[in-house]
Amino acid sequence: MLIWRLAWRNLWRHRGRSVVVGGILFMGALLLTFGNGVVSGMERGLQRQVVESFTGDVVVASNKQVDDNVFISMMGKEVEPLYRISEIQGAVDSQAWVEASLPIGKNMTIALHESEGNPGYLFLLGVDFKKWQKFFPQAFQIQGGKFPEPGEAGLVLPSGANKELFQTMGQTFLPEGVTDTLLLPQEARRLSLKTVRHEMVLMGFSNSMSTSDLRMKISGVGRFRALNTIWGHFALTDIESYRTVQGYLRQDEKAVQLSSDQQNVMASDNLDALLADGGVSNSAATTSVAKAIVPTDTGKGSDPVWNLMLVRLKGEGADRGAARLDSLFKTHHLPARALPWHKAVGVIGSLAMLIRGALLGFVGLLFVVAGIVIANTLAMSAMERTTEIGMMRAVGATRWFIAKLMMAETTMLALLFGGIGVLLGAVLVAVTPHLGIQTGNDLLQMVYGGEVFHPLLRPQDLVMCFFELGLVVALASLYPMQLAASITPLDAIARE
């Protein structure tokens, strides 16, 4: 009681200085809270825009896959095939902390120009459309046409892919019967609808000798709801067509297919032959038309080939989850390895981690600067009160009493000004999304946590803010406390 009374009156007596320290605490707490809000918002945004729209928490690849960056790799870098999927998926799904898993195919393909012209390049995802939509609900918005039905072959083109193909090939693609020119790239809208194509000839771009080209129907066009400029480069196709293009054939399938006239096509249309021909464009004449094959995910030997398996976790972080899956694969001798999502998306993930790191660094810097200023001011205040403190010590106050007094003063300031700062910061975080600060820039979208700037404070974040504030104050008052407690009665008397 005595200490709190003394502390309160001291603060009031030196109210000028109290306001200075309090002001720093207030601003520090405000920025700290807002900064934490931005980081949380960004994390949730990444969760929504990347993890829940495209990658899952963890990406499983073949153990032969060297490059971590399986999604946004440079052209020509092939993602290794992933074998023994049923064992891998079985092992992964049996973990209590795994929510769901989804195998996909992913590689670069070439879109062939069917008359004179340059080919285009396309990231292709081979998926089971029903399962993919269930795994990423709401991730993709169809604007024209539809997703292929089960057993149906077809290609779904996002706007980004369409735009890029137009730039490289000079051709545009829409599903049959779709006439909305707004779905075309902006630069292509003035062109006649007659030039719009409804089919695309894709050719695998892998080291495998059995890649083939395939005429695909455009089933739908649309956009990814999040980060469309990035994910929009990825076209979706049914997994059977994907495998045909990539030449991923099971042992039993291979026999059938090789006996057909496709053998012919494949022999002449593999990449070497094409390049030897001196051109890509004129090879389109002999393409086969895609016909979906009903998947037969049966026993080990006939396991279908994929590239990746996306895994969604519950109650486990991506990094730790990936590490746990890795040890799982090791103990079961499975030919797979696990990557946390941010490693699998290459520069996007690195950027996200970098921005997050920078934000946290900013908060940390704030922390340090505020701490130093507070420590300095408190130390000065202790020195100014040397005679008063020394006199109290002479009368019988212990060093601990003096330390507690200093602590009480800073605690009061921190609770009052810092508390208001945190609360105001929280209000600011709550209000900001309603201001509707928008961006079309994908990088900013990552910081904003979406198209609208949307910082976020969950109750645990708020607790964390108070904890961090307490930590700054505690650390900042250590030195002044020790300084004040080391003042002796003699220091007071010597000043007389």
Binding site: L2, L6, R9, N10, W12, R13, T387, E388, M391, M392, R393, A394, V395, G396, A397, T398, R399, F401, T488, P489, L490, A492, I493, R495, E496
Partner: protein, 225 residues
């Protein structure tokens, strides 16, 4: 019985490359109930002597006993405890906690002791304020009191813990002579009524008549001892 026994006490201060011999071998017994004045010119060692006896400074050599306890070997913690329970201080200036009222300043050492109930603390402190004639100023802050009034509050605070010994280093130096003499008369009264031992230092021969005994100090040595 002696409340203070000093044997061969020396105190050196290092000063640059030389050493200042502030006390050069003091021997002294102070019986309980004394009202003793330490007299000497400025720089003679009065403050140094009182500080060592008052347990706020340490001896270089020699022995100092306060109430049977050898204080030259005590830790900071033990010295603090001794100051709180056995010794009262009255300084020249800077005596009071500026943010506490007169009454609260008197209460301060009792609250530090933390043994009496709040009501008892208040009652005892009021009694002492009454004794020094300042009960009607109990709510005043130090800044709202005159120099003499502040010294009275300091005396009340020094006495409130019923110490064995009260030390006052030139308590009247900052007061006009009339006020100074009233402070010394108050110490006289308290010594007579309560039997508390008082040691005060002064360089003013005028105030010697208030002391029951006098020692003269010169250049770190007692004269005529």
């Amino acid at each position: 019985m002696n409340i203070v026994e000093i044997r061969n006490l020396t105190k050196n201060y290092p000063l640059g490359n030389t050493t200042v011999h502030a006390l050069r071998g003091i021997d002294m017994d102070i019986p309980q109930g004394s009202l003793m004045s330490v007299v000497g010119p400025s720089g003679s060692g009065k403050t140094t002597l009182l500080n060592i006896v008052g347990c706020v400074d340490t001896a270089t050599t020699g022995s100092v006993k306060v109430g049977d306890r050898e204080v030259t070997t005590l830790s900071d913690r033990e010295l603090t405890r001794l100051r709180l329970r056995k010794i009262g201080f009255i300084f020249q200036t800077f005596n009071l906690v500026p943010v506490l009222s007169a009454l609260e300043n008197v209460e301060f050492p009792l609250l530090l002791q933390g043994e009496l109930s709040a009501a008892k603390v208040r009652e005892k402190s009021r009694q002492l304020l009454l004794a020094v004639g300042l009960l009607d100023h109990e709510r005043h802050k130090p800044a709202e009191l005159s120099g003499g009034q502040r010294q009275r509050v300091a005396i009340a605070r020094a006495l409130v813990t019923d110490p064995d010994l009260v030390l006052a280093d030139e308590p009247t130096a900052n007061l006009d002579s009339e006020t100074g003499e009233s402070i010394l008369r108050l110490m006289q009264t308290m010594n007579a009524e309560r039997g508390t031992t008082f040691i005060f230092s002064t360089h003013d021969p005028q105030v010697l008549r208030y002391a029951k005994s006098v020692v003269h100090i010169h250049d770190g040595r007692l004269e005529g001892a």
